[in-house]
Subunit: 205 residues, 2 copies
């Protein structure tokens, strides 16, 4: 099967994490692994949870364009290593990258064949309810998040697909359909088309 | 649901007709109806099998750009009426047009939002076997068809999708997935995105 990079993006509270967890590895999905300068926590394994690296090496990777995107969070650097993504695609994997909206657009620019999916909560009141239920943020922060979400909506035009995340299994089924359809794009089906053309050797002498 | 025009095209013997017959009306599929100058045969109903019309009116439609494509066959004119296709799409239907390769490209040019699917037999020997089994054509004609098929393959690049028609139900499922994915393209999801943006009225006063 042909591999590809699928970016699951969308506003905070759209359910990216939950949906990504439901994509089945037996269907060929494999999570992208971030490189970070943060120290490993107990139980974390290099090459499974993260690729742990030095600040020096991180900046070297960035300079050598080996990061599809990068960001700083609480004094540590995080990035998406291009090489790992490409290796997994070569193996036929559907590499899944879960990332916020601006990071996603950054990756798409550096990796144009990536399939960019905007996960959207059904309505803003529903999004507000989800964020409130989560209980990790106060009312002011939630209002700021809703405002940010509205600012992100016009960016949907730069995405390949928009999936309304109403019911989780439906959203997962929609992503499966997107992957199936993308595999039938002519530029991804080059090998199959070649096999067809080559099959003339079996009949025309 | 949002309607769209889906063009099922491909070489003779690719199984276009068989696949199109399996697309379920309950899933929203509706066949495109051709306009023709041919006289109705017994049992044929105007507006169901064909739109029957005069040569004069046919040429008028062509001049007024109301035909997405047209062709002559055994002295009669046949064409795809734009108005009917647009009306069905307005109703939310997935209008299915089964047509040969050059006709398909003609339609795509006049109707850019159409989803162009190239149905391809798995191999040329398989295509040869299908055409032979059909028993309507002699060996010379079949060889000419195979040659024509090979000429059509490079045109796949102008298509949106290529579906290998190996097993009929699989091909149907792939077309269903394409339609589902296409419905999530941002330009087709404008109404849903607007509903989301409008939902702010429910919480922000």
């Amino acid at each position: 099967m042909d591999g590809m990079l699928v970016i699951i993006s969308g506003p905070s509270g759209s359910g990216k994490g939950t949906v990504v967890k439901q994509l089945r590895p037996e269907d060929g999905y494999a999570l992208s692994i971030s490189v970070t300068t943060r120290k490993p926590r107990e139980g974390e394994t290099d090459g499974r949870d993260y690729f742990f690296t030095s600040e020096e090496n991180f900046h070297k990777m960035r300079e050598e364009h080996d990061l599809l995107e990068h960001a700083v969070y609480v004094g540590n650097y995080y990035g998406t290593p291009r090489k790992y993504v490409e290796e997994q695609i070569q193996k036929g994997k559907i590499v899944v990258l879960e990332i916020e909206v601006y990071g996603a657009l950054q990756v798409k620019e550096k990796f144009p064949s990536a399939v960019l999916i905007f996960l959207m909560p059904p309505t803003l009141p529903e999004l507000a309810a989800r964020l409130t239920k989560r209980g990790t943020e106060d009312a002011v922060t939630i209002e700021a998040r809703l405002k940010k979400t509205l600012e992100e909506v016009p960016l949907i035009d730069s995405y390949n697909y928009v999936v309304i995340n109403d019911v989780i299994p439906d959203a997962v089924a929609k992503i499966d359909a997107i992957v199936l359809a993308e595999r039938m794009k002519p530029f991804r089906a080059v090998e199959k088309i070649k096999q067809f053309t080559d099959s003339q050797k079996e009949i025309i002498c």
